[in-house]
Amino acid sequence: MAVLKPFEDQTGIKVSYESTRDEDAILTSRVAAGNPPDLAAAPSPQLLAQFAKQGKVIPLNDAVDMSALQSSTSKSWIDLGEPNGDGKLYQIFAWAAVKGLIWYDPKNFQAKGYSVPKTFDDLTSLQSQIKSSGTTPWCITLESGSASGWPASDWLKEIVLSQSGPDVYDKWVAGTQKWTSPEIKSAFQTWGQILGPNDSNVYGGKQFMLATNFGDVGTPMFQNPPKCFMLNQASFITTFFTSANPSLQPGTDFNFFPLPDVSSQFTGAHVVAGDSFSMFKDTPQARKLIQYLTTAQAQDIWVKRGGKLAVNKQVPLTDYPDVLSKESAQIIVNTQIAKYDATDNMPADMRSAAWKALLDFVSNQSKLDSILANLDKVQATAYHS
């Protein structure tokens, strides 16, 4: 990891670093066996929050420079690191991503005379305009190994937040908003309108959506003629665009607009996500490393490599490698209602049931009621284990 090199050079501490695609299982076993790593990072704060509740994680209040953190990081990120609400900081966020960005190819839009939709009605009329021209408007792909379905949850979260507002969203994350409630049900239905009857608005229909890896979502959009015109994914997807197709230029070949507000009542609401770190063993070296990760120096390294946005506000906008990451960094700064990724903050079995439910919804939209009833059942037990 490039980000560790300056740390090792400055302090002489050697960091041995392991990575896994199956962190839930491996970290859980190691913590249970009393052999946790000094520090662990997780793509969802829920796993680390669970260990914090079990008392397995060491509070960071005297390990990191709290006043520096408070001045460099916005309050919502620090609050997310205090899952027990007792003023004890258990996690720090190292980098962030904006979710719910609609990506498009500006050249395709120009060729067809389409314009970037400003309102949700604009978006729906644009998609029927594209559909009537004989092309599917959307590319959506949901396969992701044991996490299949998560890209669909990005749609759902964004719609819930933008349609029903932050209060419903928070209750939904906390498990007190039923899945069968009208707010959540209508979020599914709104997504259903985007998908069209029998997923007919999406390239390849449900088979292609379910069978194709999330990273390949852009491939049909960049074909000539394009098979779809828009896709929804977080800011990291650009690295997949350019690794599949190195000639693509950000800004000219692909660009994004934020999902328009579904309800005018909640303007500028966006879902964000990020990787967080926790400390499991209190060693001087671990303290130094976690302090280092909160600094602009460390986060700047991630930022310059592209695809990631700094949580530390001191990272200058000029350090972002391209115009697009600069724009999304600005969205993070300007978002009026910022909410952390809902499913990532739900208990792991709730999250996994939600992903499965979205796959089932894509397979057969008419089963919505039974799918939601089943999610309520999971919700009833998932929050109490």
């Binding site: 299982a25 044991s146 088979q207 792991a348 996994s352 284990s385």
Partner: protein, 337 residues
């Protein structure tokens, strides 16, 4: 992997590298010394236990006791309070689509039936047919090769094989390339729950991948059994006017039966334990869940050890009859020797 960690703790390294063999040698020499001092007639009664002792201890400590603890845990809730059969009631609720029913159906009907049949049929056919060609060893090595691949790699390979592109786009998956060549629409093999959402098609697609990985194993054992049939028997049958098919049906097949049964029951246990291919290829989505994966998800996703235990016990109950049958067969084969 960073091997420097091994050298970080030299005393432990020495204890493991030198200590373990030393303890074993001391155990063997010491116990043999004690047995020698017993009266002649007692020695045969004691000696086997000395040799079986260590493995008995290990099996008790690492298999039997955890199994018993699992049984106890399956009657508790996640905080250790006794709740009777409630975990099982949850797992067996809402027949046929709720609880563990989909996983039970997939394990006990679809996997058990198709996996065992596919592997036995292919293994037997390949063993018998390759027996008749001069390049037998080469082909058999080729068929055996997938056994050397880890099942995760196997799953990834077959995900490519089954890859789906919509009609009209170039098919990147081998299977769909073949299917579209014959003017059939491409099929989303791993997602399509044909027929009527019952999920036979995608489960059989998973089983197909697993079959590819294990057929070599069945073929090698069956081929060894085939070679054990005396040539004079086949000769005599042919002299009596039996055609090749009759020779296979009336002579080869019955003589191979004990081996087929042993291989078959082993495969049934493999089918009930199925996990890795499903985890990698569909993660139990689209009606392809299996018991071992369900147990894993309860354990690591839900952190619900009690529910995981109850699924483990359901799996254990399903395996026991096969296990008993298998042991009896082993004994019968041994007795015949």
């Amino acid at each position: 992997m960073d091997f420097s960690v091994l050298l970080g703790d030299i005393p432990t390294l020495l204890a493991v590298v030198l200590g373990v063999p030393a303890v074993l040698v001391a155990y063997i020499v010491g116990s043999e010394y004690l047995v020698r001092r017993l009266p002649d007639k007692n020695r045969p009664q004691v000696r086997p236990w000395i040799w079986v002792g260590p493995s008995l201890l290990l099996v008790t400590g690492f298999l039997l006791l955890p199994a018993i603890a699992t049984i106890f845990q399956s009657f508790e809730d996640n905080h250790g309070a006794f709740i009777g059969l409630q975990n099982y009631a949850t797992q067996l609720a809402d027949f046929p689509s709720g609880g563990a029913w989909v996983a039970i159906r997939n394990n006990i009907i679809i996997w058990l039936l198709f996996y065992t049949l596919f592997v036995l049929a292919f293994g037997l056919a390949l063993a018998v047919l390759f027996d008749r060609v001069p390049y037998e060893t080469v082909v058999k090595s080729l068929i055996f090769m997938p056994m050397a691949i880890s099942s995760v790699a196997l799953g990834v390979i077959w995900k490519f094989m089954y890859s789906y592109q919509p009609l009209g786009a170039p098919q990147t998956g081998t299977v769909n390339a073949v299917v579209t060549f014959f003017r059939h629409d491409p099929v989303a093999w791993l997602q399509d729950q044909w027929p009527n959402g019952l999920g036979v098609l995608n489960n059989v697609a998973l089983i197909g991948a697993a079959t590819w990985g294990i057929t070599g194993f069945a073929m090698v054992i069956l081929s060894a059994a085939l070679k054990g049939i005396p040539g004079e028997l086949l000769e005599a049958a042919r002299v009596d006017g039996a055609g090749e098919l009759t020779v296979f049906r009336r002579v080869i097949f019955p003589l191979m039966m004990p081996t087929i049964v042993v291989v078959g029951t082993t495969l049934v246990i493999f089918a009930l334990k199925a996990f890795d291919v499903v985890y990698v290829m569909t993660n139990g989505n689209y009606g392809t869940d299996v018991l071992a994966l369900r147990m894993y998800n309860f354990l690591y996703l839900s952190h619900n050890n009690a529910a995981a235990s109850s699924v483990a016990i359901i799996l254990l109950i399903a395996v026991i009859p096969v296990l008993v049958f298998n042991l009896r067969q082993f004994r019968a084969v041994e007795a015949r020797r």
